[in-house]
């Protein structure tokens, strides 16, 4: 990017763009969380008489590293406990022969200092793992690096950047944050987070949204551009990180930040009230969650239930599958706290960007079209049934709906329902408390399911439209591909027609139709969604107040005519113009920055 001109632009404003992972604007001093000092390792010889003390230096560093990790595990707040499994593996790795033993040997044999010996051992090990074809094993190199960095820090006396010990309000800039680090974030100290790695669905992204800290991930080279104590502006809504901003930029963002906060405060004051249209119709607005912790945000923002509980995350960041008990306990927490509101649990949807290292035994050239979601679950019924048991058991504690993802034909629905019935029978036999009478629905996210909506509607209690995937598959657009992402258009006439078909067929067959995709969170789309007769909307928790607020300014009356006009249009541009002309007031640039096309 601007790398070449870095020298002469030392104090110039630089804007770098990454993935907008958690909304909000913050302005403050940068705090680099990196392994400063560790990168420079000197090699020197140790005289024979000092070999034993040198080995002891390594032993002490390892003992200290072990104690540090143990105390991080113990101090982790309860909600991070499920992520500490990886740290326990790190504790064991610290004393592994191949790392610890080999380093001791090398100090002795080559008469070199502990740092250099460790560096050599680690780089040899890294090479072994990096050449592996299996992604799970390949990624173990990262574990070895994390573990050895901790030893390095203790050897060189460089204090670990202890996030917990930060004593001023800062914006964290990091290559990546480890689970050990995110579990130490303190709200009153950290204003924002920017990392080189990671994506919106990464662990760090979820934690930032849960804690409501603005965050930008996937910045690639932020740690190279930003220096410690640099003034930075982090706009987590647009994904822009502005380094060493000019005065006018600073003024502009201070103003934007105030407007944003004021608007957010205003709409969140009214967020506990129902989303009622001017002519008196109420639409339930639910929240989408990844982690059970997020239900707090859904409740705070006035959500009327959980419209999409993505269950993948409990399977990630760990080694091995979770047990039925572990799943059940988490589901029951969510269900009990949300009761009597519904909790819509989507069964396991693993895919391209959410791969679990331990199930990835096949490399797929095109994972989005591959063995994922219901396809994977039907192929591995023993894994699927564990989740179904946990869901049916949790259903005894509140209002649960179950939803199967990636349905593309009728057989899949029937097969999934048959497994659900089998699961109920086995639970009954085991004499476990459960509730078999729950609403069963499917995600409408593959175009073939939308086309078959009339037939599928006879099999289930509800449809939930996942617009992100539906639009991607319908328009053949990969949203993360920078060359075509501008063609991803929720207002494409084909999308509207397909949504209309799904909604009409659902209602004709007397079942409900919900929407849980990103389309539901953009206010400018709401008139169309009301016009289509979508029965419930589900958005990320932060958008609930915005959506409720927008609905209160609309009337159902006149929506039929609007839909007629919309369906006459021949392009997304025409529809967009029509919407802006009629409903421009819904777009408050200060709050909603359209991220789509």
């Amino acid at each position: 990017m601007k790398k070449n001109s870095m020298a002469d632009s030392e104090n110039q404003e630089i804007v770098i763009t990454g993935i907008a992972a958690s909304p909000g604007i913050c302005i403050g001093k940068a705090y680099l969380v990196d392994r400063e000092g560790v990168n420079v390792i000197k090699k020197y010889h140790i005289p024979g008489s000092d070999i034993e003390p040198e080995k002891n230096r390594l032993r002490n560093a390892v003992v200290k590293a072990r104690d540090e990790l143990r105390s991080i595990i113990e101090d982790s707040p309860a909600e991070f406990r499920q992520h500490t499994g990886i740290l326990e593996t790190h504790v064991v790795l610290l004393e592994d022969k191949m790392l610890y033993g080999k380093t001791l040997e090398m100090i002795e044999r080559e008469r070199i200092n502990a740092e250099w010996a460790l560096k050599k051992v680690v780089s040899d090990l890294k090479r072994v793992f990096q050449d592996m074809t299996d992604p799970y094993f390949r990624e173990r190199a990262a574990d070895i690096v994390h573990v050895s960095d901790r030893i390095f820090r203790n050897l060189s006396g460089v204090e670990a950047v202890n996030i917990k010990a930060i004593d001023k309000r800062v914006i964290l800039i990091a290559t990546d944050l480890s689970p050990a680090q995110t579990s130490q974030i303190q709200l009153e100290r950290i204003k924002g987070i920017a990392t080189n790695g990671g994506g919106a669905a990464s662990h760090t992204g979820i934690i930032a949204r849960t804690l409501e800290i603005p965050a930008i991930l996937g910045l690639r080279n932020a740690t190279k551009i930003v220096k410690n104590d640099d003034l930075v502006i982090l706009d987590g809504t647009s994904g822009k990180l502005i380094v060493r901003p000019a005065e006018e930029t600073l003024l502009e963002y201070e103003e934007r930040s105030e407007v944003y906060e004021a608007h957010r405060a205003r709409i969140s004051r009214s967020s506990q009230f129902p989303a009622q249209t001017l002519d008196g119709f109420t639409i339930p607005i639910l929240g989408n969650i990844d982690l059970p912790e997020e239900i707090v945000a859904v409740r705070d923002y006035g959500g009327n239930g959980i419209g999409l509980y993505r269950t993948e995350f409990q399977y990630m960041g760990r080694i091995g599958f979770p047990t039925e008990e572990q799943l059940f306990e988490r589901y029951r927490d969510v269900v009990e706290i949300m009761a009597p509101y519904p909790v819509t649990i989507r069964t396991l949807d693993i895919n391209g960007d959410k791969t679990m290292p331990y199930v990835c035994d096949i490399e797929e050239p095109n994972p989005v079209l591959g063995l994922r979601a219901i396809r994977y679950c039907l192929k591995k019924p023993h894994i699927f049934k564990i989740q179904l048991r946990a869901i049916l058991r949790a259903a005894a504690y509140g209002n649960v709906r179950i939803m199967f993802p990636m349905i593309s034909n009728c057989d899949e629905v029937r097969a999934a329902k048959a497994l659900l019935r089998e699961t109920a029978t086995s639970l009954e036999k085991d004499g476990v408390k459960f509730n078999p009478n729950i609403d069963v629905g499917i995600m409408i996210e593959v175009p073939s399911a939308a086309v078959m909506a009339d037939v599928l509607a006879r099999e289930v209690d509800f449809f939930s439209i996942g617009t992100n995937d539906l639009i991607q598959y319908l328009l053949a657009i990969d949203r993360s591909n920078q060359y075509v992402s501008h063609l991803y258009k929720p207002l494409h006439p084909a999308v509207i027609r397909m949504l209309k078909r799904v909604a009409d067929e659902a209602h004709r067959n007397g079942i409900s139709v919900y929407m849980c995709g990103e389309m539901a969170s953009n206010p400018i789309h709401l008139p169309i969604l009301l016009g289509l007769g979508i029965d419930e909307l589900s958005t990320n928790p932060q958008s609930i107040p915005v959506v409720k607020n927008a609905i209160r300014s609309l009337s159902l009356e006149g929506m039929d005519q609007l839909m007629e006009q919309v369906l006459e249009k021949s392009s997304d541009m025409e529809i967009e113009h029509l919407m802006k002309e009629k409903y421009g007031h819904l777009l408050s640039s200060a709050v909603y920055t359209p991220s789509l096309g």
Binding site: T89, V92, L93, D96, K97, M98, L99, G101, L125, V128, F129, M132, T133, D134, Y136, F137, R140, D143, I144, I319, G320, F321, P357, Y358, V359, D361, I383
Partner: protein, 94 residues
């Protein structure tokens, strides 16, 4: 090799879904620590690795269906050998 060689090694297939991953390797290492002498894991086309080291075992990158040989050097470690084979056989209890 002496006549006793075959008692000192046993072949076993990794049956669990996840393969010989970090946690299952940790379980083997825990048992192997009890051995008085060395315990080796062998996989075709690979060097023998130390069953007391997780990292060493991970370098074999054994996925489900991989055939491995567990070998001990001292007959008095037969119990350790059996215990490891049983553990692998039952899919590490996963």
């Amino acid at each position: 090799m002496s006549d006793g060689a075959e008692h000192l090694s046993r072949e076993v297939v990794i049956v669990n879904e996840l393969g010989l991953h970090a946690r299952s390797a940790a379980k083997i290492a825990e048992i192997a620590q009890k051995a008085v002498s060395n315990v080796w894991i062998l996989r075709q086309d690979h060097d023998a690795v130390d069953a007391k080291s997780i990292i060493d075992m991970l370098t074999l990158a054994c996925t489900k269906g991989t055939r491995i040989i567990v070998r001990i050097e001292d007959a008095s470690d037969a119990a350790v050998l059996n215990e490891i084979v049983e553990l692998v056989d039952c899919g590490f209890g996963e």
